[in-house]
Symmetry: C2
Amino acid sequence: MADVMPSTRQASITPIDGGITAATGFRSAALHCGIKAKADALDLAVLAVDTFASMAGIFTTNLAQAAPVLVSKQHLEATHGIGCAIVVNSGCANACTGQQGLADAKRMAEEVARALGCPAEQVLVASTGVIGVALPMDRLVSGIREACSSLAHGKGSDAARAIMTTDPFPKEHAVRVTTPRGAFSIGAMAKGSGMIEPKMATMLGFIATDAQVSPALLHRALVESARDTFNAITVDGECSTNDTLFAMASGTSGVTIDEELYPALVDGLLSVSEPLALGIVRGGEGATKVIAVSVYDARTADDARQVARTIANSPLVKTAVHGADPNWGRIVAAAGRSGVTFDVQRMTVRIGGILLFENGLPHDESAPKAAEILQRDTVDIEVSLGGGDASATIWGCDLSAEYVRINGEYRT
Amino acid sequence: MADVMPSTRQASITPIDGGITAATGFRSAALHCGIKAKADALDLAVLAVDTFASMAGIFTTNLAQAAPVLVSKQHLEATHGIGCAIVVNSGCANACTGQQGLADAKRMAEEVARALGCPAEQVLVASTGVIGVALPMDRLVSGIREACSSLAHGKGSDAARAIMTTDPFPKEHAVRVTTPRGAFSIGAMAKGSGMIEPKMATMLGFIATDAQVSPALLHRALVESARDTFNAITVDGECSTNDTLFAMASGTSGVTIDEELYPALVDGLLSVSEPLALGIVRGGEGATKVIAVSVYDARTADDARQVARTIANSPLVKTAVHGADPNWGRIVAAAGRSGVTFDVQRMTVRIGGILLFENGLPHDESAPKAAEILQRDTVDIEVSLGGGDASATIWGCDLSAEYVRINGEYRT
């Protein structure tokens, strides 16, 4: 047994530059077309494949889905996951915009398709920004035509800025995955939960790899890697109309992903997704600290996730962390109302490794030490449910008066 | 059909003075025994029945249940709902206190029982305050003995103050219910969600009536009336270790509640419970506005409640109301992620009666008028799901920077 290494160990992963266009076979363009008021604010990006790519997408589970979400789902289905480009705008979510919104989202795909010479169904669409407002199609169509004529390699960082709304910083990451059968690259970018003007945490994420992988396997790897990254974060428990995560695989590295190399692909996706997901949390509205809630010794991973998510979303836990209060009682109470059944007498609660609750009783003598740890900008909350061997981690952030200020301002 | 009035219409209900001791057959005492630091702060109350009473209780659904909750459940079960007194302290929740906490809660009941000459199982116990701290039993036992020797009629208002923690105002209400078969009274008091020192929204509610009613029927009426009052409010979606609602019926009015008069009892309970429940919301931490979320045209009442609760607990909706922003998009998105299935195209959203979203499209021309209405201190949000005839209302409050300040302060 000892000489059979898991195939994941056969891959070495190293960070590289280049963001979303780090992998070969992809070009991008980003510009200001006039959706955002500020004259130099990039608000449109096009990502194009040199030939064509396997495509996969994960979308918001909200019943209220924006037009670009509905159109992209249709396109992925119609093409069985073969595509040539993605077009993204920021500044307007094209959500709650009725039939006109659907027509506008389709038009965005059509304009890209016309410029690139591919079927419109091979173009995916994403939008982020204010909802209930129609896209300024004249400006957008001109912008798309201009962008498609200026596509270039190595310009991923501009695209990462063009998808931002009120994100405090751009989020991009790329890695080189070296396997015994060759190396491939994965580039990624994301935007997060700035909600002042966009009003909702329209999380968008984009991943581009030059691995050769079928649409079905790409989708499976995307779902698997998102579970513990983009789907394991929360800023305020809200779920938007536009949340979208796309992956594209150009195949130009010549490395074919089969079942043997599948773990290497997943590891590579995890490697680009985790820093972007954490970046979304760290850039969450009013956030001053990242909270990593890990739940251990649960009966199932779903149980662990549910308890971790309830703790990470608890307003009382979030405000306690904000105030550096080692308030284990709020953590116990949040776990207790999570809907998961466990024995509170066997539960333990640690903050920053400091044991604060065990056998149904507090260890308040350790509270001052935990309070010190809570001054850090990343806080670990560890909960054992004492009845199983499953675990999960959810990343959240604290709740500050700044969150209220940002979201309580009357929209202009 | 027209000449058969529902029996509920046969009862007329009028407010009366007297709070929890408004009904005949009940005495109370309240004093400062020394749990709260402030010398004149009442922190102990005893409610006693002149003879004995039917008793019923509803408790927190949190897995982490405080000692007084566990002991009161045992006592209700052991006596099949016959009791003689309730003892309540504020300032210490006796939660997460292990075996010592259970012994202390039992001791509280035993001391009352010894003073009143009844079995300890006939005494129910409630506590509210800081968790993870043991009760100061010496002071508490002295206080219980003193309280039991000074029980008197007509002192309900002192009891309503003694159960407060950081509530901004005491909450009591009483009514006289007149039926064709005689009149009975119902008095009630509650404390709400001040969490600075107590750390959790330990909602406690107490109802005392002189109607003659079996424990089983009293329990049924309590559950039914709580569903749309105490169980239809939310301050921050948290659920505490100590939440308790008790009802006692002395029978001294001579009016016997049977199936015919049952609706009159429920109406009476609703009449005292609704103002107390709304008082808890209005006194919620940092709350500046009450938000009444009504969901109509749902397939089931449970669906309507779930959508209403998701909207009322949404941080984005709560901050929008705080900022008087008629942000219908956040309401649509919260409903869409509630887990209830409905057709967004048939949904309508109104704020203060102003239609803002219909047929999947906004009515932003009405936003300024809605923004004016949002300046009021009670805000109605009305949502139609457009597919059924069930409805429900949940009362919540806005989210302010003051909430963060209150709950982010390090406990001293």
